[in-house]
Assembly symmetry: C2
Homo-oligomer: 760 residues x 2
């Protein structure tokens, strides 16, 4: 554990002491989002200490000119960046004419609390200014789930030791910058602005010309009485201010309610942004802070009703899983098929783009099991809509005949990354997209997605693999040369077992689905065949490649090798590395990492997780025993897979340790980088480690199987999953496993710790 | 051959037609240098067409902030760039008030001629302006070998069809930029400037604070009569102009002589730059253009006396070898140990830095054989002086105990490159530096360099290799993982045969030299041992590593493999690649190149060239037959090695074809990039392909051996080499080989096409 300042609580994330060195970490941890927009937990008032400002609007991006040391053919010239948007939260405060700045006050008490149950972020402080004025502050903030363009702040200040004159200068500010910018180009231009009851700045992104209206309304009250005096307006270029003044006697409380947020051209014509903002702001202000908060509580209650996982006996585990589920729901709710799940969600800029293979490999199961089927289908459809771009992307790399290579990182289907070893070689991502189609279909039994959309994607991907292999005369096998596997601590390797296995599977699955669509959806097949210029001889070639695929294997160890030559490495277990050089990527040069045996994230084992049915427990155990000691889990996506596999191997202590690592990755900042934002996509892996790991949920031959196991320290746990229209609730404690089946065929079973198979 | 506009001539490079698309190529081909400074062949007068401006001062560089897409630990934060310097050649010309610009005239005749015998560049043109004025121009230019801070231009214009008013505005301009700039930062600041008879701009590089004075004096004459009228002076910020007016009657000739060049803080205190410039300019102007040119002819005659290679029967070969020798002498003459041989010399900016392994692996033999011994020793000493930086560089990558890794590209010993696969992994460069010490010592028999300086370098390099290997339990051998060999079309490969062979050799050679110094130079040994903290156990470990080094080998083919897994590739010969996709690196994405079998430059064969004694002709032949078909020679450093090996195998047709490719690489622009500058270092490879290839010069056990073979088309060739203080001249024709031995033991032999061994 790298930090321990977050207090334990089953429903809240709490920081209860002031530490200026934790400000940027807390700005990430206390981030808010509502699926459409998000905010880092920046202070409303001015703050002169270190801070990382961030406000984000889903789906709004800018194609920044690529920065590259040494150009390679095939690199994208531009790629999409997550954009810091104009800020609406700012409230500068003057206390008897002096600026309030926590960095310049004596702090008697300071607390942040993120109430995950109701989706409310509260900050309180008790400070004495340099002039000796003592104030208690209490700031509530949330982004409305119901009104997705609306956020609300209630900023309260109490005069503690003396009467005081207060000035609240609430503002909108369009003068913002991205930290993650390649060339310091401006990303936004100011379009128009309008003062009034509602204040609106309209800005537009360069190149992509997304229009965004940033707005606010303010209302000041003192001891519950609204201050009627009109605010002083100050209008500057791309900045609007409203200043409210009041005088407080000792014990009195001033309260500024600020409604604000974003309206964008994703949902409205640019010329209507101002009027939409006025309408939304006015409706929200009329409803009032309390009613908005009630709506928020209700909306979160609905989410928790389905998504909550209850853990008894271990508040650290309980807090962590709720934090993960909370953040996933803040980031993506499936309402808009144009959006996806960025690795940092709305909590930071890093990694740019919004969509990685994380979505398919880690996030899909969570959304399938906790949201209506349409949500998971939207995630698949996102890739279907970008198939043409994936084909273009493959063409840039020399592939032909409709072969598709999905980008490593993308916003609109175009590649957003340019390291050759990743962009061109981390091609296993393409397999994950096919796998998600399989996974979705087997889980939901939706027989329409593949004929309607999925098959074209499967064909494009299979064509890619069939062209990407090489025939090795020396081995009389097909090999896949020059790849980077999930373990990015190996680059440009040959015959990455995971990649080869996935490629073979993709080819076989595509053939299988072609046959099925041909048979059961012949009209769809005709349409697709004409569109993709299908020839049956292709499938023959694919099966030939699949059946002659090479897999590196060591006869003595009886393990598949992560790649050719893995055994040439100096196989020193990671446990013997001094902690002072961890994480390795912050201390070692890249060549040293590459020639080491250390595995950034599950690679061969990722395949054993995904293709569980293909391997016996004994074979799994052999591979787990071989690879786990070299795995350094310096990717957030690693511990969850190891947690699941350890649970499958009945190593519950180990599984539990990995669970803590994945679930508390950000809360405890294992990788020393939480200040940059949260690891959103890996949070879905945390969910998997409970449901698929401890719950033992798998699907075999269309049947849902459970094999629940209680981890150490937990007295019980309980979760629900949506499965083909019904809700299955699982309760596990040391004595028993109970199942509750809500839906068409209500069912309640009481199992004494036995694995079960359910056929719906 | 990619272009054919350069006319054949034994001593001249000639372009005799105007083609605006060839301007940038010719600017490279007609570049001038004198070892201290250089100029691309930019026009003096204004030119509105495409042009790549370049003036360079040896040893003057700027550490540009690194540009990188994705940072890796160990990358340099700054690296040195070759700098475009303030321009001194500019002469704007007005013809009856209209600007003369060849892009805007009707061109009746246009010729460039680079007279290599006398080091003179001449351009003539016959044009009619848009106003109908016909002018003949003739411009002579050279950079003085004798006065290394002086260049001279004689710009002559003749009125052909009408009397004309001419205005010559001769200027110095400090407002220049680098094309190769990472962040468009300014590299130069203006310090001071002074008009007068001599005009001087003093500029200073940022960060490195090199001061450079750029100066000029001008003198106009008409029909041989000096125009006495003072020029009109115009002084602007960082720009000085002198304007001369004259009127010409038909047939009259105006001639502007311009003396200019650079004085720098490499040789003078900054405060003296103006006075030194004044002194140099005045002395040169007083000597006059003709005398300066006589000095130039004399200096070049001295160079040619030793360095010329005469070829009868094939003017294309003759022109090419002289062009190569000429450019090498323009770039580096060994006078200043702080300078080195940049891959583009003074002809372009590309590649930054100045020193690559090219110096040791390709250039050293040329300078050893055509210059006093001190010159080659200076080249070695350059690396000795940078040993501390090489140790620091290795430390950045995690090496300890004085292990040294010389940078891939450098100016002052610091790394100037940041691609991980090159910077961190193309480590064979380190071996070339040790090999050069061996090569120098065996050629010159200088027994002082190793005890004085070389041994420390050898120890640092051996320490690097001993730490860089890994022990493979699986093979019971030492392996070298994660390298890039000379063939940069493979990255991060394991067990590159060339690298492993060189590493083993370095370890053994270092041990051998330690023993020798211990025995014959014990005082030196004591000094070095104390300085490097020597322990004899190190040598034992080195020998253990050397004797257990792994080499990939295929039993069936009986060839060493370029790297592990090479036979997994689809081994389609390069001859079957369509010419439309060549060079591959301009058409294929990097991953495609990497998984192909195509070899950018000799890699395994580079080892066979360097360690010729270790392999029989039969073994060489097997390897040549295996690797040559996959070699695409897209590095300039490749054809020369293949030329030499083909000659060793008596394949004279092939050797001749490779000779043409290496010698005419730039003249015929094989790699479609001559506009960026010339391939200077590979020109030394051209020299090797004659002397070591056709001449068959090798050293075996301290004996100089010759095995001359006449290539097709040549009726004879003749070259000289300096060998241990004497000059050996070799003449070969179809009938006989004659040797002339000038020096302490004059000798003349007449050999009937036999190989000979000479013991001095």
């Amino acid at each position: 554990m790298q930090q321990d300042y977050i207090q334990l609580d089953p429903w809240k994330i709490i920081e209860n002491q002031w530490d200026k060195n934790k400000v940027m970490a807390s700005e990430s941890l206390f981030s808010l989002g509502n699926g459409a927009m998000g905010l880092r937990a920046n202070f409303e008032e001015d703050y002169s200490g270190e801070s990382f400002q961030g406000s984000y609007v889903g789906g709004i991006y800018y194609p920044d000119k690529t920065k590259v040391g040494w150009w390679k053919n095939g690199y994208p010239e531009y790629f999409a960046k997550v954009l810091n948007a104009p800020s609406w939260i700012g409230i500068s405060i003057r206390v008897n004419g002096e600026n309030l700045d926590l960095a310049q006050t004596t702090i008697h008490a300071f607390e942040r609390s993120l109430d995950m149950k109701q989706g409310l972020y509260t900050r309180t402080f008790d400070v004495t200014t340099s002039d000796g004025v003592r104030l208690k502050g209490s700031v509530d903030r949330f982004l409305s789930l119901k009104r997705t363009e609306v956020g609300a702040i209630r900023y309260q200040l109490e005069a503690v030791n003396a009467a005081v004159d207060l000035e609240f200068c609430s503002y909108l500010d369009g003068h913002i910058k991205n930290q993650d910018s390649n060339w310091d180009d401006p990303f936004w231009e100011a379009v128009s602005q309008k003062g009034g009851t509602t204040n609106v700045l309209v800005n537009r992104t360069f190149k992509t010309t997304f229009g965004v209206g940033t707005y606010m309304q303010n209302q000041l009250s003192v001891d519950g009485e609204t201050v009627i005096d009109a605010a002083i307006k100050n209008e500057q270029a791309n900045r609007l201010e409203e200043t409210y003044n009041c005088s407080l006697s000792v014990g009195s409380v001033a309260s500024l309610v600020k409604i604000g947020g974003y309206v964008s051209t994703l949902h409205h014509p640019e010329e209507e942004l101002i009027s939409v903002a006025e309408r939304e702001a006015t409706a929200a202000m009329e409803a009032g802070f309390d009613q908005l908060l009630q709506e928020q509580q209700k909306a979160w209650a609905e989410i928790w009703e389905m998504a909550d996982i209850q853990i008894q006996g271990d508040v650290s585990s309980q807090q962590a899983i709720r934090f993960n589920i909370f953040q996933l729901n803040q980031t993506y709710n499936g309402a808009d098929a144009r959006l996806n799940i960025g690795p940092k969600g709305f909590t930071g800029e890093k990694y740019g783009g919004s969509t990685y293979w994380d979505t398919e490999a880690y996030c899909l199961p969570f959304y399938m099991a906790t949201k209506p089927q349409k949500v998971a289908r939207n995630l698949l459809q996102y890739r279907y809509q970008q198939l043409d771009k994936a084909i273009e992307n493959a063409q840039k790399l020399g592939f032909i005949n409709g072969a598709a290579l999905y980008p490593m990182v993308t916003m609109n289907g175009e590649e957003c990354h340019n390291e050759w070893e990743i962009t061109f070689e981390e091609i296993h991502r393409n397999g994950a997209i096919a796998y998600a189609i399989f996974n979705y279909t087997r889980y939901t039994d939706d027989q329409t997605y593949i004929p309607e959309m999925g098959l074209e994607v499967l064909i494009g991907i299979a064509r890619f693999w069939a062209q990407r292999v090489s025939w090795s005369q020396a081995r009389s096998k097909y090999v896949i040369l020059g790849v980077t596997g999930p373990n990015e601590y190996e680059n440009n390797i040959n015959n990455n077992w995971y990649t080869n296995y996935l490629a073979k599977w993709c080819l076989e699955y595509a053939c299988e689905q072609i046959d099925a669509v041909k048979k059961y959806h012949s009209a769809d097949f005709e349409r697709i065949a004409a569109h993709v210029d299908w020839k049956d001889s292709e499938a023959e070639q694919w099966m030939k490649v699949a059946s002659h695929m090479y897999f590196p294997y060591d006869e003595t160890l009886e393990v598949f090798l992560q790649q050719d030559g893995f055994l040439d490495k100096e196989l020193v277990p990671a446990a013997s590395l001094p902690s002072a050089i961890r994480p390795l990527n912050q201390y070692w040069s890249w060549d040293r990492i590459l020639r080491s045996p250390y595995i950034k994230q599950a690679d061969t084992l990722q395949g054993f997780y995904m293709f569980a049915e293909d391997f016996s427990k004994e074979v799994l155990e052999k591979h787990y025993n071989f690879y786990e000691p070299f795995t350094v889990h310096e990717s957030s996506l690693s511990p969850c897979i190891h947690a699941i596999l350890a649970a499958r191997l009945d190593r519950m202590e180990e599984a539990y340790a990995f669970y803590l690592r994945t679930s508390r990755l950000d809360l405890d900042d294992y990788n020393k980088e939480v200040h940059e934002g949260l690891h959103i996509t890996s949070m879905a892996g945390t969910w998997m480690s409970i449901v698929e790991g401890f719950g033992g949920l798998t699907l075999k031959n269309g049947q849902l199987c459970l094999n629940p196991k209680l981890p150490p320290n937990w007295s019980s746990f309980r979760f629900k999953i949506l499965f083909r229209g019904s809700v299955l609730e699982v309760f596990v404690d040391a004595q028993e496993t109970k199942l509750f089946w809500h839906g068409d065929n209500p069912l309640s079973l009481n199992l004494k710790g036995k694995a079960i198979t359910i056929t719906k």
